[in-house]
């Protein structure tokens, strides 16, 4: 299948997941929020479904590998030091900004939340600027 068709289909599955979580539990499918709720301080008291969601996420490529022979998981493109810095920034930024690509980018835009639209524009532009600097300036 053409990568763009696969991407559209994959996006559709992400949308289906977000809609189902709203239908079952009345919740927003924001990954940084779901993970963050497991962390101190003031971890959420509804930890079971959050852990189950994460188990489902990690099971996905394993099932793909078993049934199709391809997990669709690619290798990191940068070294350990960069990954550590990037991980810290992603953790700090998504907590401070109240969401990531899923909570703001998919669910927030689907709710037509101005906050999420602005956040999405800002993190996409910041990402583009970062890649520009690391690939074309440095």
């Amino acid at each position: 299948m053409h990568p763009y068709i696969l991407a559209l289909t994959g996006g559709g599955l992400i949308g289906l997941s977000s809609a189902l979580l709203m239908m079952f539990s009345g919740r927003i499918a924001g990954i940084s929020g779901i993970v963050g709720g497991l962390l101190p301080p003031n971890a959420a008291d509804d930890r079971a479904w959050r852990v189950a969601f994460i188990v489902g996420l990690i099971a996905a490529p394993l099932l793909l590998a078993v049934f199709t022979g391809d997990s669709h998981v690619g290798p990191p493109t940068v070294g350990l030091a960069t990954l550590i810095v990037a991980g810290l920034l992603v953790g700090i930024g998504t907590t401070l900004g109240g969401g990531c690509t899923s909570g703001h980018g998919i669910c927030g835009i689907a709710r037509i939340s101005p906050r999420s639209v602005v956040a999405t524009v800002v993190f996409v532009l910041a990402g583009m600027l970062t890649v520009f600097v690391t690939r074309h300036v440095l």
Binding site: G30, P75, G98
Partner: protein
């Protein structure tokens, strides 16, 4: 039990979507962000598919009045476009550009067993925990304390 089933099913679907869409390949994500290089529009198709289905699904589900297995819909109530939102989004975007991982694909990629991905996720959890401590009250952007981490 139903909450756990809901988490497992939706987590699995979300993960399958990310994998099929190649969002678990940092090279593809960084290719989208690399507008001055060999631009890769894949992420745009993922967003289009995701937002369209979520938009339609939400309207259909909200028209029912309440979720199947919970008393009410728990939606973010924050509307302020403030410094925290802008700074947080900018900081996240820098990290996203550096590594090509946002939280979902990074967690999914743990399945590869690559130590580097585990290191990224560990650093992300440290960043999240540190920011939660710094703010002292987690994310205050949601309706009630019980749902304060949902976005």
């Amino acid at each position: 039990m139903r909450e756990i089933a809901a988490g497992l099913i939706t987590g699995l679907l979300f993960g399958l979507g990310l994998c099929l869409a190649s969002m678990t390949s940092p090279a593809v994500v960084q290719g989208f962000l690399d507008v001055a290089g060999a631009w890769n529009p894949t992420l745009l198709f993922v967003m289009a598919g995701g937002v369209t289905v979520t938009f339609l699904g939400y309207r259909l589900i909200w028209s029912r009045g309440q979720p199947l297995w919970a008393g009410s819909f728990r939606l973010p109530v924050a509307t302020a476009i403030d410094g925290s939102l802008l700074a947080g989004a900018a900081i996240f975007g820098i990290g996203w550009g550096l590594a090509g991982y946002c939280p979902g694909p990074a967690v999914v990629s743990l399945a590869s067993g690559r130590a580097a991905v585990w290191v990224f996720v560990a650093a992300m959890l440290v960043g999240m925990t540190g920011m939660r401590w710094f703010r002292g009250r987690g994310s205050a952007s949601m309706a009630t304390p019980a749902t304060a981490k949902g976005a």
